[in-house]
């Protein structure tokens, strides 16, 4: 089997295809996503990142080029069902993707649609709720949960379908910092422990630093692609694309320009603290 789960081959997409010369939202993107990887997609509003996500599981079909999931072409209507049971999708607003009036019924919705045996559904639902840490809330009504909890229920709804890949389209955009952290930790654990491929679309730099691979989009194209360290070393390109550097990177840059001897490529708060501590020790401050 191919080691890439999703492949984009010179893909372009424009909404309103009837209008001649409608502006393409995604332009000539060629991309492959490795099985089991954790890919973050960054970009400012209107950069085409959400459209890229919707191209992954046949919600949108490209006008030119080809998107394949496990070798299945998303343009083939007959394969849509199989593509969607391979690539699940979590949206920005948790309220608009929860279907049932009880948490466990909602998680069961996907497997029920797949026609799984009732006993097996029960097992999968319990397992999925445990894996996102929401098992104790299984009998709650969704509207009584916090945003972060609702989003975790939505993620459980996808994992219960046992998809190989989850695409999350700005799942943290509507959440408070705590909810963001909950969702991020959950997604990281699913990737690490269950080997689920994750495509995480976000505009929070700190979340992107935790991925294996970061893609930066601007004006429908991918302008940077690499590990977080590589990508964030191109500071000018990132700022030109309308994005910020991660807070820790910005802070350590300021320290470096003030003459402190810190290593390059600091991205997370932990790295930054360690580097400052090492530097302080060297100077005999502590």
């Amino acid at each position: 089997m191919n080691e890439n789960i999703i492949e984009f081959n010179n893909v372009s997409f424009a909404y309103d295809s009837e209008i001649v010369n409608a502006p393409a939202v995604v332009k000539n993107v060629t991309l492959s996503i490795k099985r089991g990887s954790f890919v973050a997609v960054l970009g400012h509003n209107g950069s085409g990142k959400s459209t890229l996500a919707k191209l992954c599981n046949a919600i949108l079909v490209p006008q030119t080029g080809k998107v394949t999931v496990n070798g299945m072409d998303t343009a083939d209507n007959g394969l849509t069902f199989d593509i969607r049971r391979t690539v699940g999708m979590v949206f920005q607003n948790p309220d608009n993707q929860i279907v049932a009036t009880v948490v466990e019924d909602d998680v069961a919705f996907g497997p029920e649609n797949l026609g799984v045996e009732p006993k097996e559904i029960r097992r999968r639902v319990d397992e999925a709720l445990k894996s996102v840490g929401m098992y104790d809330y299984r009998l709650f009504e969704p509207h009584k949960l916090s945003g972060g909890q609702k989003q975790r229920v939505a993620i459980a709804g996808i994992t219960a379908m046992q998809t190989e890949c989850i695409v999350l389209d700005e799942p943290t955009a509507m959440l408070d910092p705590r909810g963001r952290l909950e969702v991020m930790e959950t997604v990281k654990r699913l990737n690490r422990e269950l080997g689920i491929t994750v495509v995480f679309i976000t505009h929070f730099m700190n979340e992107a630093t935790q991925a294996d691979r970061v893609l930066v989009m601007d004006d429908g194209g991918i302008i940077l692609d690499g590990t977080p360290k590589e990508v964030f070393s191109h500071k000018e390109i990132i700022i030109d694309a309308g994005l910020d550097l991660p807070a820790a990177a910005e802070f350590s840059d300021m320290l470096i320009s003030d003459g402190f001897n810190l290593p390059d490529g600091i991205l997370t708060a932990e790295e930054c603290i360690e580097a400052i501590y090492a530097e302080a020790k060297k100077r005999g401050v502590c």
């Binding site: 919600i59 999708m89 279907v99 049932a100």
Partner: protein, 271 residues
């Protein structure tokens, strides 16, 4: 506060009535209502009252809640009573004035009707008090499933009901939010006459509708992403199984049926 709303009038509890299979409860409620209309004299009606009280006691629904469910039909009860008192023919005239006369039969019939309606409302309220809307929807889906023969998409209907229930609290929250937003911009929702206040609702309803449609659109995407294709090939996690207590309940209602028939023939019919 608005987060605490409960949909329907379900009262959480753990009585036998709560634990009965929702399908059985729905069917038995249906038969219960039929039996109410089969009563022909005060003996069989008395048995009916006894059973209604018995079921209410079993359900442990507080009497206060039961009376609350009768409050909206109070006007109907009065109306029915008055009509029956004056419009029943025959019987011995007790007193009369102008063109109206009150007979003993009229009084009997009025009392009979009022008690019937009270039993009817109490019986059907018991169903909604002891069953969650979700279970009730499931039960209706399963009970109506034979209609598939006539190409009626029962699954789709049930899904629509579930989604409606699911989005009631969400839309109430949204309404609250929009009202606050419009108030913050100086909208006056409380003063003025009926027409003025109705007009003031327009800037609330329009954004609410727009947002509801946007939600529906996103929800449809989310459902498709979770492989929803309508009813075909769909399984259900929760299976409903009839237990001994369900048969017991059926037996009880059957006994009521027989009792009412017996009393109807044993004593002479009043109406």
């Amino acid at each position: 506060m608005i987060r605490d709303i409960t949909i329907g009038q379900y009262l959480p509890g753990n009585s036998v009535l709560h634990r009965l299979d929702a399908r059985m409860k729905a069917v038995l409620t249906f038969f219960f209502i039929i039996v109410i209309f089969l009563c022909k004299n005060f003996w069989s009606l008395g048995l009916m009252i006894a059973f209604t009280l018995l079921f209410t006691a079993i359900s442990k629904v507080p009497l206060r809640m039961m009376l609350k469910s009768l409050k909206p039909i109070f006007v109907i009860l009065i109306f029915t009573a008055v009509l029956n008192i004056f419009y029943t023919d025959g019987g011995r005239e007790l007193f009369g004035f102008w063109k109206l006369s009150v007979t003993d039969k009229g009084l009997y019939t009025a009392g009979f009707m009022v008690i019937r309606i009270i039993c009817l409302i109490t019986g059907s309220s018991l169903l909604t008090y002891t069953t969650t809307p979700t279970l009730l929807t499931d039960a209706i889906e399963r009970l109506l499933s034979p209609l598939k023969v006539f190409k009626i998409q029962v699954n789709t209907l049930a899904m629509m009901m579930t989604l409606a229930l699911r989005f009631i609290p969400t839309l109430i929250e949204e309404t609250d939010r929009i009202m606050n937003a419009q108030k913050a911009r100086g909208a006056d929702l409380e003063s003025g006459g009926f027409i003025k206040r109705a007009k003031a609702l327009i800037p609330i309803l329009i954004p609410l509708f727009v947002s509801a449609f946007r939600r529906a659109y996103e929800l449809a995407f989310a459902m498709e992403c979770r492989c929803y294709r309508g009813g075909e090939g769909r399984t259900r996690m929760k299976q409903m199984k009839l237990k001994a207590r369900d048969l017991g309940a059926a037996f009880l209602v059957a006994a009521l049926f027989c009792g009412v028939f017996f009393l109807n023939y044993r004593f002479k019919a009043l109406i």
